[in-house]
Subunit: 349 residues, 2 copies
Amino acid sequence: MNEKEIMQRCIELAAMGLGRVLSNPLVGCVILKDGKVIGEGFHKEYGKEHAEINAINSVKNKNDLFGSTMFVTLEPCSHYGKTPPCIESIIKSKIKEVIIASKDPNPIVNGKGISKLLENNIEVKVGILEDEYRFVNRRYFTFIEKKRPYIILKWAQSVDGFITEPSGKKWFTSNNSKMLVHKWRAEEMAILVGSKTVENDNPYLTVRLIKGNNPIRIIITNHILQTDLNVFDSSSKTIVVTQNINVFNYYSNLSSFINSNKEVVYFDKSTLLLKELLSLLYERKIISIIVEGGLYTLERFLELDLYDECRIFITNKEFKNGIKAPAVRVKNLNYFKVGNDTLLTMYNF
Amino acid sequence: MNEKEIMQRCIELAAMGLGRVLSNPLVGCVILKDGKVIGEGFHKEYGKEHAEINAINSVKNKNDLFGSTMFVTLEPCSHYGKTPPCIESIIKSKIKEVIIASKDPNPIVNGKGISKLLENNIEVKVGILEDEYRFVNRRYFTFIEKKRPYIILKWAQSVDGFITEPSGKKWFTSNNSKMLVHKWRAEEMAILVGSKTVENDNPYLTVRLIKGNNPIRIIITNHILQTDLNVFDSSSKTIVVTQNINVFNYYSNLSSFINSNKEVVYFDKSTLLLKELLSLLYERKIISIIVEGGLYTLERFLELDLYDECRIFITNKEFKNGIKAPAVRVKNLNYFKVGNDTLLTMYNF
């Protein structure tokens, strides 16, 4: 196995943390001694051991670590966070060389980890499969570098370009597509919709068809939504975002709302809601959001070019009329079959 | 062969007239006697014989026409135009039955042909493969029914969504794509671009890589364009469309311009150029246009939803920056490989 093949394995390990590590980066790690893999690990859960520690712990005979080479996707941390710095464990275990896909752009690391390794006479190599790793860990890099969540826009439409079925049915995609949407919800930290979607479809916005964590629900509304709607159930946190002070006052004074894992946030009418909202989500360390509609909400993101990824399900049905799907610039288009539907993905970076 | 198979052959014959019959419909015709094809024809050239006449003329033994069945894509005409009415020849030749894909919505026909056949005791059946024929002859149906040309928007972009190459090169698609664009030009009656495209690219907008007729060139500009630009060469008619009275006066008073198959048209500033322009093209019997850019011109058609077809070449190169390609609603998407490029087509009907 050459360096790239080993780093590829690290990236695969990293990806296994998706939807489980919250705002932390996805990190994978492999330890090699005399050309043989002696340990593997990845970051599995927010607040728990980092990938490097899991890899070190997986080595059966700790003496093997002496003179070994560590492959890790992201620069090891040098600071005390929820866990002690990985650098300390690497130094202690007498690893000889550390091969890294990417530097950590997070200001509290950003080269400090690498400097510490070098100071301790550990060889360092950076940049193996960096682009491939950046893609897998794109939520984290976007969050740190653009100071906003990674944004995924998702909608479903008919082959002839309408996002509503004449009958008004909520779901018109195949079961495979529905399951995939639930998987996607489990992969992101928050889900965002507008008030019309909440009222027309009364969705839960939770993960039910597969196993996974529910995202935080973010609802943009400028009028009061009844609290018996499904998005206000107890299965996940819900944040109401409004530019109407009356809506803010209503929920703020509703003890059953405030005391049950819900929150209301007010932005002054004069502020541009979307950018302010993204700043707030950044402060809250919400690393990624999936926007599931409706049309008005999706178009606000599209017109500001404020999105990183577009996922469009196209059913094989014609609706003939209805609400027209949003227009989107074709960019880095991919084309898949999912059940009877076609899935288009576009990356806006 | 069943009725549908025979009508399918008529449609194939009709399609052979594309780019040759100008504002006339594409029509194909097959004559059947005792289950055998005895004649075929299609409308080949503007002002020349219609498909029915060509099919009748192709029958070797004219006695065979007695009691035969004619399959024809469009209702035969009943009026004197550039040629005598087809109905007369059909009656004279003692054809027993006429099977038609679609009625002719043109007010000067629109059922009159069918009535005349029935009055003469000829059996008539209408509607065989009507949708299939409407698609092949979509320019004509759109022109008659919407009272405007059929509009095709065409652009080429990089895989990452830019329509200009950093180096400013005009063409960045593969040779196969270039040839296809010339074929497309030969299929439409006019080609339309904005002033920026004329000045930046200095295109001829003619058909050179294949054999075919040059489309009429329509240039939208609000400033004076030098008459030594390639779009003003003698290879085809050029119409300058402007909302600037000074531009109109300039060209109107330029005898070398007016006397050389060129024309300038003025629309008052207060009129919405595009709709007025399409009405003018309708009056001129320009049945179809292909819009080849630039961004500003394409976006005007897109924002008014005034287009019938979109053809987007996507090269496999990344430009990283440049002018962003227009956004478009995904509708009836098709996906092809052309050389190294991908061709997306979307039908907006």
